[in-house]
Amino acid sequence: MPKVKIPRKSTTVDMTAMCDVAFLLLTFFILATKQKPPEVLKVKTPTSVSSKAAPEKSILITMTKDGKVFLMLGDDTKKSAIIEDFNTTRGLQLSAAELAKLKKAEYIGLPINKLKSALDMPQEIPANLMDGIPIDSTNNELSYWIKSITNAYKGEDLRKLQEMMLVKGDGEALYPIFKSVKEAFKANELFKFRIVTEGETVPLGSELYNTGKTEKK
């Protein structure tokens, strides 16, 4: 009987394939994650236990630490409609070129009376030099903007708009600014909006923790 030769196999596994997989996944994750848009406005949002993710497409009102208010129209399909509506309702008399420039701007942060002259300037004004949209009780220009937004979304699902309306604010911003923003919403019959916050875990032993519901609203 011939001797059965059992070949001695090496126990080392070829790692090439695994390495390929690992880096493929790595590349996928890096490319698939959406880069955070460069934030011109530095805002540190407060935390809340809400676990609902903020929508990506949104109309964002930002309140900075020093009390300035900026508006970002994130819904590209309606952006030009909103700006054109604002132009006509507030009588800005912007030229076509100025309108186009305003539509390209990432955020709006100037009072009405300074808007036209700023658009005529060759270069853009950096965010820290902008005045923000005035929100005093006497001259709440934000409510005019919201008016134009509601005009642009007229006939569509109001709930969809409410989902999109976001207020983001720096924790240090004083309360009256937030109040004026709320007034601007209320003036346009919008009673629901959402506030952007940083996620926070539900405290152990709290009522909410015990009921096991993280979001009931």
Partner: protein, 182 residues
């Protein structure tokens, strides 16, 4: 098996008697590289999910003078937010005689227990938290107190934001002066 050990691939079958100089394998051990790859994946996965921002719903009431809500004194707790992250509170209504005892101050660490205590002690239909923010309080305070309501599972409709009255402003001012809060 002319070549033993590590390099299993690349070994051509040689005819008998053909001697070849020992060649060093060009293969590199890829294990550390795989380790690194997965480490990076883990890192990216974790960091991306962490910075996810959330949205808190906010419902504003319609300003309708005909629909003023009547609140029972026994079930009401007024929470006032002052500057320097200070919280003041009182139950029911402020009476001129006992104003100094009723008007108490605390902070955000202490308010949760008080909210819960009130919630447990009051029938749910009578329960009402009235939140008033001072001009010097911050946006963070306003969000935090609403969050406290959620944390203590106070049902919506049992808390409301109301404007401050001059008496309360004055009380906050005197308390702040007495406690030296800037």
């Amino acid at each position: 098996m002319a070549e033993m050990d590590t390099s299993s691939g690349g070994g051509h079958k040689k005819g008998p008697g053909v001697k070849k100089p020992k060649k060093n394998s060009t293969r590199v051990d890829l294990t550390p590289m795989v380790d690194l790859g997965f480490l990076l994946i883990t890192f990216f996965v974790f960091t991306t999910t962490m910075s996810q921002s959330t949205a808190m719903s906010m419902n504003e009431p319609k300003d309708d003078p005909n629909q003023q809500l009547k609140v029972k004194n026994s079930g009401a707790m007024t929470i006032l937010l002052g500057k320097g992250n200070q919280v003041y509170y009182y139950f029911g209504q402020l009476m001129p005689e006992t104003i100094s005892q009723d008007f108490k101050s605390t902070n955000f660490a202490g308010i949760r227990a008080l909210i819960l205590e009130k919630k447990k002690a009051t029938p749910i239909d009578d329960l009402m938290y009235i939140i008033k923010s001072d001009e010097k309080s911050t946006f963070k305070n306003a969000i935090d107190i609403l969050d406290e309501m959620t944390i203590s599972a106070v049902p919506p409709g049992h808390y409301a934001e109301v404007d401050m009255v001059p008496v309360e402003k004055m009380l906050i001012k005197t308390t702040e002066d007495a406690n030296g809060i800037k």
